[in-house]
Amino acid sequence: MEDVRMIAAWTTPGREQTTAGEEGFMRLYEATSRPLWGYLQHASGRPDAADDLLQETYCKFLLSKAPAMDEAQTRSYLFRIATNLLHNRFRSREDAALEEPAECGAETDEAARLDVRAAMWRLKPRERELLWLAYVEGMSHAEIAAATGLGVMSIRILLYRARRKASGILRPQRTKS
């Protein structure tokens, strides 16, 4: 992906900032920022944390001097950076409120949405990440392994357990309603 090289040149000090690099980044951002924000918001539970982490993810990406990558690899790479940043955040407990989901927006009265969000929040951060990458982003086990740094076999087992757990939490709630 030529765009990635041009984008890297854009951030190298002393080098001329090229319009092509800037445009390449804008295109990449347009294509990836919303899914990435959704992932970060879902995994962290907070839109403000998702904003911060999104910015950090792209800054790290721009500073990483990434080699030439195709679109899928770039996407996977961005998710990997985002996942690492999420883990750092969870580890450092920088944001204590990350432990509880923050409600936002005008749609909080939707029972189904609350069901899913509440159910997801009862899962571990790693489980939420895996479910999102597999079922929302539609990543294969190999792609999830690349994004999370885990082995393909571990992904299969962890994803299965996470899915069973999430369904177990969702089922009684649905039955009640």
Partner: protein
Amino acid sequence: MKLLGCEQEAGVIRAMQTGGWTEFLRLHVADCQDCSEALRLAEALRQEARRAERSCNPPDPYWILQRSRRMAREIAVRRMTLLLASMRALAAFYVVAAAGWLLRGYAALQFREAVSSISGASTWFALMGAMVAAVCVAAGLWPILHEDATRGKAGSVR
């Protein structure tokens, strides 16, 4: 129910995303508890994702570009500062070693003998060069160390 889920699960999720349902997959989902469970969960999550995307207002990309450029400059400055600090440490070490060697008188005693035994003008020049270099490095180091000491004092006063 299998130990690690159903082999068809990936195909079912892909079909849900692309809309490429085959008769086989439809029948399979109706029969397989794993796949129907995965499908239900995937649909719920994707609905949640669509809602999140609608309310999402990502930061201005131009601002991110500017920020990353500023960070790149800071990293470059940090690297240069580290290089300069190591050069300073090396210079200080060189001055101390050269001064120690000269002060112990070893060079003074052995100088003539060494020069006469090797009898090369190059040796004489090398020794003189080392001494001149030590003097130059010390002279260059003095204002830097002096400035550091002044800054250190000012910091401790504050």
